[in-house]
Amino acid sequence: MKHLNIFILTTCIGLFVNTAHADKPEYIKFEGKHLEHGRSIWLDTCENCHAYGIADSPNPLVPEDWRKRLEQDAKVLYTHAIDGFFGPDHSMMPAKGGNDSLTDDEVKAAVDYMTELARYYIKSKKEE
């Protein structure tokens, strides 16, 4: 019975998380478990600022915000996201987006998802 309760609770939480993320079609679901995992982390932690440009954060849906950033090595973006980063005019990206519970690999997955999303919108704009 205890196991059944845990199963029902887990299923309910799973359904809630899926529903919460499902109504944001602009955040494309890319193929592959890594990017799927990255999307989930990005929506839980990064979206809160990056979707609204809070504290000068670059929005992946805005091609102009990302063109130059994508020219950098992925390692630079990982380091900035994991350790935090002072941008132009002392704007500040907090370490792990302020979510200390994330592992380095989880942050990297979120960065990979965000850059993939930015590339998608840059490509979409070119094709218009």
């Binding site: 979206e47 809160n48 600022c49 609204y52 809070i54 504290a55 704007s91 302020g98």
Partner: protein, 202 residues
């Protein structure tokens, strides 16, 4: 020929003076009559407030506290000889404006930083418009709230703009404060709102 030339100069000078006088009269008229909507006025005021606060946060607090690590910023800035927090700087500005506006009724507007979860009860919403506006900016992130309300026989245009936790310290300071009614803020969350109130009649 000479007469004609002189006459032309007189006509030209008269036209120039007429245009100049009309221009000055028009400029004076525009300065004294409403040519900007209350909403645009509120948006413009908020743009100034928001930019000043962002500059203080980035170029003073972030640079000296986080990057150079030469001083700290603290709620108890006098006791600890520290920088005032960006939210405190904003509040001190609002208090000074309130004092000045009281002495100059022609410039009777006000602004304040409020929250549905205030650490200081004084900063809780008092009017229905404030309550509704704060709830709206929390539920509709990225959007502002505009309405009119009547207080003491005067009609006001009231605008509410979201106030967001832009750094971990904003969230942790509120979460850990002994008087906070909410302790699960995270970076990027709407923690409250800036309420701007402009009289439009009465």
């Amino acid at each position: 020929m000479k007469y004609k030339l002189k006459n032309s100069w007189i006509i030209l000078s008269f036209t120039f003076i007429t245009v100049l006088v009309a221009g000055i009269a028009w400029a004076s008229d525009v300065g004294d009559n409403p040519s900007i909507t209350p909403r645009t006025m509120a948006d413009a005021l908020h743009m100034v407030m928001d930019s000043d606060r962002a500059v203080y946060t980035k170029k003073i607090v972030n640079r000296l506290v986080k990057k150079e690590k030469v001083i700290k910023a603290s709620e108890h800035f006098e006791d600890e000889k520290a920088l005032v927090l960006p939210a405190q700087m904003f509040r001190f500005g609002a208090e000074m404006v309130a004092e000045k506006a009281e002495k100059n009724p022609d410039i009777n507007f006000s602004y304040s930083l409020q929250s549905l979860w205030p650490i200081n009860k004084q900063n809780a919403p008092a009017t229905d418009a404030e309550k509704e506006g704060l709830k709206f900016v929390v539920d509709n992130k990225g959007q502002n709230y505009y309405t009119t309300e009547e207080l003491g026989g005067i009609t006001y245009f009231t605008a509410v703009y979201a106030d967001v936790a832009v750094a971990p310290v904003c969230a942790s300071c509120h979460n850990d404060h002994k008087d906070t009614p909410k302790s699960d803020f995270k970076v990027g969350d709407v923690m409250g709102g800036v309420v701007i109130r402009i009289p439009i009649s009465g």
